[in-house]
Symmetry: D2
Subunit: 245 residues, 4 copies
């Protein structure tokens, strides 16, 4: 099997404005996520792209060669060009996998693919998060124990404004008393989509071994399965059966 081509897209703004974030992720959050993927075993060709690059680093040619796109964004969702969102959406429906992380719940691309508000409740209070596995046999949960903990994270709580997930992989428990559907799968067109909750910028979440394991599992799960179907509303002029008999 040829290697999977993975692009980790980072908004790359907090890292340069907030010294705390810069200290945790000196090369940017996207590079930390990419490093985790590169260390996860054979079979992946991992590169990064950022908001600041021309076309946000997501040219048509590059997307056409990408198997799975990982997305982290937060404060600059509004700066992502609609034309690039159109392009990413089309590639997902054509078969490219998409892994949406944390605050990416409010990214244009995730809201586009879900069709819903994607809203939630939240709190920044350095609280413990425990992620429970809802299906221990799911490919994305392999190598993860019954649950794993993050000592301090931002809280996300229900209601989470999403369509019913095709598969529920994780649900989070928070120290402050909330719960959240923190690992959700959907199929849209030919593409597979996984939302994974952890990863607030002020915590070293993307250095955590379990979080890295989940993301590494997820990109393999989301790899394209079939042909790149070009769907274009064709006129089927010639009927298969005789009409008007």
């Amino acid at each position: 099997m040829s290697r999977l081509s993975i692009v980790v897209w980072g908004e790359n703004v907090h890292e340069h404005r907030n010294p705390k974030v810069g200290a945790i992720y000196p090369e940017g959050m996207h590079e930390a996520i990419a490093a985790g993927l590169r260390a996860s075993g054979a079979g992946l060709e991992v590169s990064t792209a950022t908001l600041q690059q021309p076309e946000h680093g997501l040219t048509t040619a590059r997307l056409a060669a990408t198997d799975v796109l990982v997305w982290w964004g937060h404060m600059a969702h509004g700066e992502v060009a609609e034309a690039i969102v159109d392009r990413v959406q089309a590639r997902v429906l054509e078969g490219m996998g998409l892994i949406v992380l944390h605050s990416g719940h409010y990214s244009k691309i995730f809201k586009r693919l879900m069709g819903t508000t994607c809203s939630l409740t939240w709190r920044e209070a350095d609280e413990r998060e425990r992620l429970w596995v809802c299906n221990p046999g799911h490919p994305i949960a392999q190598g993860i124990d019954r649950c794993f903990e993050l000592p301090a994270e931002e809280m996300y709580g229900e209601p989470f404004g999403i369509p019913a997930p095709d598969e529920q992989v994780f649900i989070s428990w928070f120290e402050g008393g909330e719960v959240f559907r923190s690992g959700c799968c959907w199929h849209r067109g030919n593409g597979r989509i996984f939302y994974f909750r952890p990863g607030h910028e002020t915590y070293p979440t993307y250095h955590d071994a379990n979080v890295r394991r989940v993301i590494a599992n997820a990109v393999r799960w989301a790899a394209p399965q079939g042909a790149r179907w070009v769907d274009s509303c064709p006129n089927a002029k010639e009927p298969r059966e005789k009409i008007g008999r």
Copy 2:
């Protein structure tokens, strides 16, 4: 129970450009659909709206008072203002029902809510369509026999680029040899969505008793079920449990 407020939205263009369509629907397709609903029994307050009206007839106040919106559009999808689509989408997610008819598969509002291409194959060849009931116990299929026929319709064929429906109510057989998922249900946010295939503008489909029955059942099925939840990503500052013990 108070009456349901139904708005039938019509693009209202073919009727004025194509004499054949004008002859079948002298008051517009939207008025024929509305007439069918008015004749369907008690409990509905039915009005119409069109593309040409200010704000396409869909002001914030009117939508706020609408329980179910029925949508027919085709050649002028591109003329529907994005701001109005935003508004309709928000109301559906808040709980308003939406019935999308025929060529509305390519409307902005349907593509927004599905997140997929919504493409299909098609042919105009005056062919027989037979719609089969997939679940005779479904509210939308009440009063319909095992199947019903339309003597001449446009053909729509698979693949239909939609997310897997929550419920499959009808599948169509076409004389020329194709099949199509012609009655599909989804829940998005608090709203219910039903796509119903028949209704090409050059045929008297919206005068057909079975088609009228299905649409009348569908608006009742899609009526809001609960509170109008306003979802706004609130900060849950005060935790329910003590953090940091």
Copy 3:
């Protein structure tokens, strides 16, 4: 609209063997659940049935006249006759609603309808449960705040061995650190099924106002929507179209 006929089925064993349970539910758990439904407003005709009655109180005639069946069982799942389970399953597929409570997750009827293990993890430790609403617009969540608490309950934890729910209404947070999908909806055949977690026999859970509200909402949500379809694998001898042209 005519009144809905509701039958609350209780295993009725713990109440007679454990004085603690008998003290909380002197007339049986089923009677407490029925009392909550009777107090919930107009439109319900509520009766009860128990394991010890002939045919467990679920004769063919009675089931045929039942709109929604509520089920609580635990230690005597194995004593429920297969023939009665067949009968209940057939009625659910025909359109009768089914509300399965707490330890009913391991009842024969629930496992039959789900097709999966329906297993979970558990602990009896008098711990606080907080049930979060995942969709505030859902009919079953009406009248419930963002969440509600039970001061002491048995814990049920993920993984819960169920098919992906059609709709997720509640998720529970437990004091001891677990989470659970505690309110789940499915459609099977013409019937609607709702699983609701709370209700361990040693706690006064079915006297709780919020729990009663949820069950009262659920029976109304699960009421039959359409015709009682009798499905029997018929031979459609006469084709609609000529074969062999």
Copy 4:
């Protein structure tokens, strides 16, 4: 990757009673299906099992070593021992893939896993069947054109009494005027299930190249993805968090 272990299970009754069937499948239908899989490329270890063997050829040890089970049955569904059905169901929920063919819609194992009637309408009239691909990007549809035809088959028609499929891969058009959801995917526990309609015993359907291609794709799609989770309702005695503070 190690080879997938595939077992093709055949009822093996029609072949010995009906000379027409025996002529088409001289070594049994199961051997024809197995031959198609063996010819489908590398990576499969294919064997067969039949009703007449001890334990129907499905011992605990053999099932434990099986990755995907293919099932064809019809007139002898009732002769399949409940204990073997229990065993197969447990293995599917543990992760073994299951491909159910044609009249297997009424097998005990399929009805167990679905929880519904699995009924349909039918007709034997040597009619043309055309299977349309609903998602050209699905792994099971790879190598298949927009549709393929079988010149003569038994007809199966809607309503098909199944839970809503997770993914719809094929829908059939029949010459006599019916339609049917002929390729459907579900996830249950850790296992993947695919139902595929064609294959009446009196036609050479399992010698057809497209049918063989679909079954070969399906067994690869249904291969176990993760750990063999043993789920047993464990008591989680030790809470992760302190209770009763």
